[in-house]
Symmetry: C3
Subunit: 306 residues, 3 copies
């Protein structure tokens, strides 16, 4: 897999070989961060175009670019401040901005919008989230965290807990993890189960898949505990929701049942799926994920721009 | 013409000698862009103060500053986020911000506001648009594009098409182009004709001027086709507007009548004055103008700050 | 006093030795500014998190960081654009952002909010104003201006004029100045007098304190004339306000009574407490304070990050 000059739009672009080379690069990037930065991307300019604000994701890309000596110009809220108000098309925005910079990172509430930008851009476009569709660097940093913490991916049992039907995060993780020899333990209310086409896809890639409603029973098996939010409005009735309220909340009591060397992941921001008391548990890796995200984006920017 | 330490407020500051030296510098800047940047402005800081958001113009200046190794601090929406809400005068804002940076780029919806800022600033101020009044770097990049594409300006026939009465862009272009031996072909509805004082000024500078309503007839003569928007609300009646609706829209069929080596300019964003199908016509230079804008602003920042 | 790796949250952290070492460093920083910058903080990244917009303060920190070769990533309006809307706690924001940068500068409308951020951050946090509570770098730049202009602090008579009851600025100045052998002349309406606990504290530190309602009488004694706003809404009745309206306005006529070598300070933005005609009076230092603020913040960033 060659990254140079490529748009990064979807997890579908990545195979195991591509991911592993990215992860090795990210590990080098972590060393660069500790050593105080680099000038690998000196002279390069990144434009961040966020049609939907996201401070965490924007900061992560901007930090990554700066750590490598590149420069950033930024629009944190395109909807509020751009000439989109003068009805410029996304196509024209792409043709315009790509004359001024070397790479574009874009976030937009509509599925497919970043693809449209990429088709009209003269420089690489990286998808930082297009609504419910894709957010490939989030999924990459999740899998990178597992790879780094577990020393590899093969043989790992991945738990995914919460709303597996609607969540972009677990879907994207599946799309990357299927390339490795992992086992999936999917824990959700029936109403919010992983879509069957994704489960079929995992099996097609020879991954073992177990589905369950019962976190207490399934937790001990997990090497990775991937938490996500469960939102009340997703349920058909309040009664139905009450059945699951608090059931998928990780706390110190519940974590006694988990493996000693398990790791907890969460895409953040959390609401109350993970008790604050767990932050000091060495198995909690959700804030370290943020640092891993910078490393993955440094690796990606380097590979795309070199 | 000496640029060092000067405010850049109006096209009236420029003569042919000044423009040509700027264009030569801009050409060098294009080479620097290809070569991956420079550190000519290392240690210098630009503040962008946009009292009216404009992503394209702001990005262009910010890209230019970064390409030369300078730094940028930015307020993309002063009206929403500044202490103007605490009623600070523009004069005080100028006296304050100029203590912190080496050059200011400012955009504001009111005519004369940028002049007021400049009068109170200890560092050079560059006008990035003060309402209907001036936007000198836009006009400079237009003329630079003609100079570069045609290998010079003398003897060139410049077409301007659309709303020539109200448009800041054609007025500013005239103010620069009159210093050269060019011919003007001005195409507009009578109601939106170029103001007579500007036409007189062009003639006073010995430029030939032809006025017309008929784009089809005038198009074959043009070396440069300068398009602008025609807005319905400018007309006295809807009937009057209907006469011109679609008449000043450039499309592949119409472009068959244009010269083989003509070039199409547009300040962007376009609405529908230029059919998207023309984007692939090698004569379309409106997106290349964006890149030329970065080069012109690099040249200007260098000359002002050196 | 050791600054390295420390949060800077309050004026209470500073003693005379700490301030003097900071001021000596700031003086070196002024030389660096003239010489065109430095690369002392090359490879370091500052995040500015402004939950309440303040262009002046944000620009000052961002200019300081850039002058030292560091990089900046910025959120100028966290309330409008952050995932706080998704109810993320300040604690989680701290744990997240501190994974991506080397230092955080934060402003927030609520007292104590910046302390909360600091308690959860892995990197130093600098308070750029937490509502009515603290804004330590503003007070430091005020005292630095006096130290620089007067060649020291001992023996100086400091006038503070206006709303001394509610103003964060005079309170913070007292908290720093009490460590030196200065005399305070506090001029305010009775209703807006300096809180008695602060006056007691000053006396406890062996500072002489004189309180007065009468600016005309007190002005001739002052070496430093520290102006602040008097706001009508602070008074119990309009009648009461009328008594003081215009009484605490500095103008050229009144300044005839001041010492020849006095200096005028103001935290800006001013409304009408200082007549614009005084801007050209060499005793007016309120705009130079802005430049001093960049120097103080450069010194602080260097000391915290080295």
């Amino acid at each position: 897999m060659n990254f140079q000059g490529q748009h990064i739009l979807s997890t579908a672009q990545f195979d195991s070989e591509g991911m592993l080379s990215l992860f090795e690069e990210a590990k080098k990037m972590e060393k660069i961060m500790i050593d105080g930065g680099s000038d690998i991307l000196d002279g390069k300019i990144l434009a961040t175009l966020f049609f939907e604000p996201s401070t965490r994701t924007r900061f992560s890309f901007e930090s990554a670019m700066n750590r490598l000596g590149g420069r950033v110009i930024s629009n944190a809220d395109m909807m509020a401040t751009s000439s989109l108000k003068k009805k410029e098309s996304l196509e024209d925005t792409a043709k315009t901005v790509s004359q001024m910079v070397d790479v574009i990172v874009m976030r937009h509430p509509e599925s497919g919008s970043v693809d449209k930008m990429a088709q009209n851009s003269d420089v690489p476009v990286i998808n930082a989230g297009d609504g419910p569709n894709q957010h490939p660097t989030q999924a990459l940093l999740d899998v990178y965290t597992v790879w780094k913490e577990r020393g590899g991916l093969d043989g790992v049992t991945i738990g995914m807990v919460g709303d597996l039907r609607n969540g972009r995060v677990p879907h994207s993780q599946c799309d990357l993890l299927k390339h490795f020899n992992v086992k999936f333990v999917l824990v959700s209310p029936d109403e919010l189960a992983m879509p069957s086409d994704i489960v079929s896809e995992l099996k097609h890639f020879n991954c073992e898949v177990v589905e369950s409603n019962d976190l207490v029973k399934s937790l001990p098996e997990m090497d990775v505990i991937g938490m996500t939010r469960v939102q009340m409005e997703r349920f058909e009735s309040e009664e139905e929701y009450k059945k699951y309220e608090g059931v998928y909340v990780l706390d110190p009591e519940l974590m006694k049942k988990a493996k000693e060397d398990a790791i907890i992941l969460h895409p953040l921001p959390r609401v109350d799926e993970i008790a604050v008391e767990l932050d000091s548990d060495p198995r909690s890796k959700y804030f370290e994920q943020v640092g891993n995200g910078v490393a993955i984006r440094m690796a990606l920017l380097k590979k795309v721009l070199e």
